[in-house]
């Protein structure tokens, strides 16, 4: 199988709540895939299953053997006992992509190397969590609403680190981005999955044209397509 990540007829429930039912999808080998869908439709569960943090109730989540995985959680999940630099250093291993300092400087935390998380603002902690995931690197990068709470300028700066070359170069990695921001998804993705649920289902897969071929008209058409699915017109 050529895919790095496949969901084969996956089912997942929490008590009586069925979040995934016979969910079947093969993600592309590489590129940025945005997952757009209403709150509570099962996007985070999908990411957690992909990360191996949850086990499917039925079916199978296939990850290619030896796949290295990195993640930005919805929460920052930083170690309070370590400085910003050490929070990254402690996660780094033999396969890590970037040095800690480089990543911290890239997200504008060059002056905060020796600060502890409790001495940082919410936005700084968010950037630190993102820098950790990028520094760790991997074949699959899972991003669960990573830019939530960041102001426009900071978000632009951080996106430059996560999606180099304006989102079109990905060093061969597959990136899954959970977001509610359509413009964010349009700016960085090669594919957008429009999701509904629960139980989670893929309503539509949008294959975005390469950056240089993206005209205002094509983007507007995509916005309309996303809007119609998200407002529920395409349900069923």
């Amino acid at each position: 199988m050529g895919h790095k990540l496949c969901f084969n007829m996956v089912g997942k429930s929490y008590g009586d709540k069925v979040v995934l039912q016979e969910f079947d999808f093969s993600f592309p080998r590489q590129g940025v895939v945005s997952l757009l869908g209403p709150s509570g439709c099962g996007k985070t569960t999908l990411l957690r299953l992909a990360a191996g943090l949850e086990q499917p109730g039925s079916g199978q989540v296939f990850r290619k053997a030896g796949t290295r995985l990195s993640m930005v959680f919805q929460e920052d999940r930083l170690l309070d006992v370590l400085t910003a630099e050490d929070n990254i250093q402690v996660a780094l291993g033999p396969g890590s992509r970037h040095p800690a300092r480089f990543c911290l400087e890239s997200v504008g935390l060059g002056d905060a190397l020796h600060l502890y998380p409790q001495e940082m603002s919410g936005g700084m902690k968010r950037r630190l969590a993102i820098a950790r995931a990028v520094a760790y690197g991997g074949d699959i990068l899972l991003l669960d609403e990573p830019f939530r709470g960041l102001d426009h300028e900071t978000k632009r700066q951080v996106m430059g680190l996560v999606f180099p070359e304006e989102g079109l170069a990905d060093n061969g990695a597959l990136t899954l981005l959970v977001t509610h921001d359509v413009e964010e998804a349009l700016a960085v993705s090669q594919y957008i999955l429009l999701l509904q649920g629960p139980p989670l289902r893929v309503c539509r897969v949008l294959d975005l044209p390469p950056g240089e071929e993206r005209s205002q008209a094509s983007l507007d058409a995509l916005r309309i397509a996303i809007g119609s699915v998200m407002s529920g017109k395409n349900r069923g």
Binding site: G52, L53, S70, F73, R77, D80, T83, Q89, V90, H114
Partner: protein, 263 residues
């Protein structure tokens, strides 16, 4: 600026502590005047004078040293056993179900019952060690078990994603979660080890022990000696607790600051 604020706070604390000590010494002195019989209650000054006299002799230090050694051995053994038990019971639920009634029995049984039983089983010198151990194990277990159960599951998931080694997980997630519980266990456990070990010495009369000295003071109605030894026990217990907490703080700094933290 910061240093002078810290200094003034420390001075204020010391002043308050001294005032409290003076208040209770005054209460003691008033009680002494009220009762008026040295055989029932001695003056704090007489007790202090007697303690100083005792402290100038070698037998005092021999007794203090031997008791301290027994308390420390019992306490350290309890730390190890309580730690292992907490680790196993937090990891394996059937072990928790198996061990928790036993530890609850130990917690609720009067210490005197154990001392007398231990006297039948082991030599008198070992009784205080065993009793200190037995009394402290449930305390350490309860605290460390709670600490282990309070390790942040979100951080554990993060560690799983970033493939932390077991040592990294222990050092940066479990130990910080455990530290407040461990410190509480050490602080109360050490005091408890003292009390129970001296009680065991009073009943078991091992040679060179504070308990034996207290027992003799009681037999010969040397109330001044009894008070002097009691003050001595309190002072040594407080000192040991301070030393233990200082060592713990140092250990924590060393364990957590090693990766290049600011400290």
């Amino acid at each position: 600026m910061m240093r002078s604020i810290i200094k003034s706070n420390r001075a204020k604390k010391m002043g308050a502590g001294l005032a409290v000590a003076c208040f209770w010494l005054m209460v003691w002195q008033l009680a002494y005047w009220h009762v008026g019989k040295e055989i029932l209650i001695v003056s704090p000054f007489h007790a202090a004078r007697r303690l100083t006299e005792l402290a100038l002799g070698l037998p005092f230090w021999r007794s203090v040293g031997a008791t301290c050694l027994r308390v420390i051995i019992g306490f350290l053994a309890a730390l190890v056993a309580g730690g292992v038990l907490a680790g196993l019971t937090a990891r394996f639920l059937p072990l928790y179900i198996l061990f928790s009634p036993l530890l609850n029995v130990i917690k609720s049984t009067p210490v005197a019952s154990f001392i007398i039983l231990a006297l039948i089983w082991i030599k008198s010198g070992g009784v205080p060690v065993f009793i200190a151990f037995l009394m402290v194990v449930p305390m350490v277990w309860t605290n460390l078990y709670a600490g282990l159960r309070h390790a942040d599951p979100e951080l554990l998931e993060m560690a799983r994603v970033f493939q932390f080694s077991p040592w990294k997980k222990l050092r940066f997630i479990y130990i910080p979660a455990l530290m407040p519980y461990f410190t509480a266990a050490c602080s109360t456990g050490l005091g408890f080890a003292w009390k129970s070990a001296v009680a065991a010495e009073v009943i078991a009369h091992p040679e060179n022990s504070i308990g034996l000295r207290i027992y003799n003071a009681k037999i010969y109605l040397e109330t001044t000696d009894l008070f002097a030894w009691t003050i001595g026990i309190v002072l040594i217990s407080v000192m040991l607790e301070r030393i233990a907490l200082l060592l713990l703080a140092r250990l924590e700094r060393r364990l957590l600051g090693g990766i290049g933290g600011r400290d």
